[in-house]
Amino acid sequence: MTKTLFDKLWDTHAFADREDGTSLLYIDRHLINEVSSPQAFEALDLAGRRAWRPGSSFAIADHNVPTTERGFGIADPLSRAQVDALERNCRNQGIAFLGMADMRQGIEHVVGPEQGVTLPGMTVVCGDSHTSTHGAFACLAFGIGTSEVEHVLATQSLRIRRMKSMRVNVQGELAPGLVAKDIVLALIGQIGTSGATGHAIEYAGPAIRALSMEGRMTICNMSIEAGARAGLMAVDDTTIAYLRGRPHAPEGELWDQAVAYWRTLKSDEGAVFDREITLDASRITPQVTWGTSPEMVTGIDGLVPDPDREPDAARRESYRRALTYMGLAPNTPIRAIQLDKVFIGSCTNARIEDLRAAAAVVRGRRKADSISLAMVVPGSGLVKEQAEREGLDRDFVAAGFEWRDSGCSMCMAMNADRLSPGERCASTSNRNFEGRQGAGGRTHLVSPAMAAAAAIAGHFVDVRELGPGEQR
């Protein structure tokens, strides 16, 4: 029988099926952060339960940590209490914990793959919706809530029903200057933020195969913004090459044995999906969101839409609300949108390739005077170190950008990095919801190169027209 990649992952982890259609799904890997776990550990302690397999979990403080002057610790007492609680709970339950002072600390979805904690064929869960990122390694990876965090800690499993499957075929080739972020934003623009609800999306096609692991993670990461539970991609040479030599990847004979298995992790020829969609990569232009939902997106040549021309009443109303919140008039050209801040970071776009792309644009240039803050927040301490070895930090600093320590930072404004009311930001993160980057803040989602270009120009521009910065 032909199987999809999802079928293979499900079938190797599901057991104890019940008549009501649910199964227990065995969990190989559990990532834990400071925000969604304290109440789970507390419940575990109250019931006198121990973690089922503590060695399968990996904890990192990322959401709340400061991105400057780490040596002074966390100023906000509540955030500090959360990070301290994570460390204490992990020590208590015997779970590996990466503290703020550790060189390898960073955003959990950047660090997991970087450390080889994420490996193909695994089920990976985490109390964070962007766990879908890990699907780039042919993992069944999805976000869970705090009660499920407790459930996984206590039972190493979840009782759930099978997801539906959907395949997104990305045909053709991206034009030069376009990246994975543009593909996934264009997809969300096409199918909407509930377009894939209840589904695991497998991404396939030549434009996906041509991407690096970094780019693939960007796409799987934002699957949740299309409503999907999980994003998936088949294993190929790119996957294997990325994993070789990672600290927690197998070695020697075990590596060979694992690789032989990993190479089977792809959908069989002729496998049937519940839904299939095709996207033509060659027609995608640099994407910029204009509203308060990731589906409110258009190309750099586009205009802010006119709500009055939207036939669906509920959508018309949501467009109106979005434009009011964003302080934008209908039919404004995207290029005419002036910005106050620029944020390059987040689990979507803070890997080395993202920083290289942004640095290549700013090299030898200066940010516009009207940009009050342009900041770069690497996804992990190791990404930061690598970037510094390549001199990217100097390119950014010379261009007037701030070069920070790793963490979630202004992606969700839980630490000190946030927008003030009314401020407008070009951001490489994944959500442009009202207040996401600080109460009253206005977010436009773009790729790293587009964010860098906007910092230089002070407004959105097509990075291809601005052209690369100085050569090195």
Binding site: H13, F15, A16, R18, E19, G21, L24, Y26, D28, V35, S36, P38, Q39, W52, R53, G55, D76, S79, Q82, A85, I95, A96, L119, G121, M122, G127, D128, S129, I144, G145, T146, S147, E148, H151, A154, T155, Q156, S157, R159, I160, S194, T197, G227, P247, H248, P250, W255, A258, E295, A314, E317, S318, M414, P421, F433, E434, G435, R436, A439, G440
Partner: protein, 216 residues
């Protein structure tokens, strides 16, 4: 978990699409290690007027539905597609519950929010778009529309408006809700099956057995 069988009370119509969990409870209120205290911050950005300088106490926004006198203490929320999309924060469910809500009705939900609701004895009811439309119309006509949501019979009804709909929910979740079962305890009754599966699984894929506490 508190059992859920039936809920009768006023419905608050929140006529918005894609209400994300950042609206339900903004991230800055998540720095807590406890499960309580989220109610007053529910829908913070919509519910209160933008703060003036000096951080004075928040002033309720008179234009926000939830702040209307007739909806005080209402246990049922009615809204549009994709409610609870975005982040996995369970705090969204806790905030709704702590504000007094027990049910939310929408045509579709964010998957994680839906699961989180079930784990807390909070009922997410999926009804077709047309049914939701009719309920919105009825709610608009009435000053404060009374609904009866019955999990036993899987129905939502508005007796005064003569409306009645059935809804689907999977048998396992329904059972857990009706009986208020602690699902960790429930799964642990299958501990032997988990152990047996685990032994087979780790033998078949031995690299998965690596302990992440091991230093490299």
């Amino acid at each position: 978990m508190t059992p859920f069988q039936r809920c009768e009370g006023v419905v608050v119509p929140l006529d918005r699409l894609n209400v994300d969990t950042d609206q339900i409870i903004p991230a800055r209120f998540l720095t807590s290690i406890s499960r309580s205290g989220f109610g007053p911050n529910l829908f913070y950005g919509w519910r209160y007027l933008p703060a003036g300088p000096g951080g004075a106490a928040p002033v309720p926004n008179p234009d926000f539905e939830l702040n209307e006198e007739r909806f005080a203490g209402a246990p049922i929320l009615l809204t549009r597609r994709n409610f609870g999309c975005g982040s996995s924060r369970e705090h969204a469910v806790w905030a709704l519950q702590q504000q007094g809500f027990r049910v939310v009705i929408a045509p579709t939900f964010g998957d994680i929010f839906y699961q989180n609701s079930l784990k807390n004895g909070f009922l997410p009811v999926v009804l077709p778009e047309e049914a939701v439309d009719e309920l919105f119309q009825a709610a608009r006509k009435a000053n404060a529309l009374q609904l009866v949501v019955d999990l036993e019979t899987q129905t939502v009804s508005a007796p005064s408006a003569g409306l009645r709909y059935s809804f689907e929910i999977d048998g396992f979740s329904r059972d857990c809700l009706l009986r208020g079962l602690d699902d960790v305890a429930l799964t642990l009754t299958e501990a032997d099956a988990i152990r047996a599966f685990e032994t087979r699984h780790l033998a078949a894929y031995p690299w998965l057995a690596r302990d992440l506490n091991a230093t490299t």
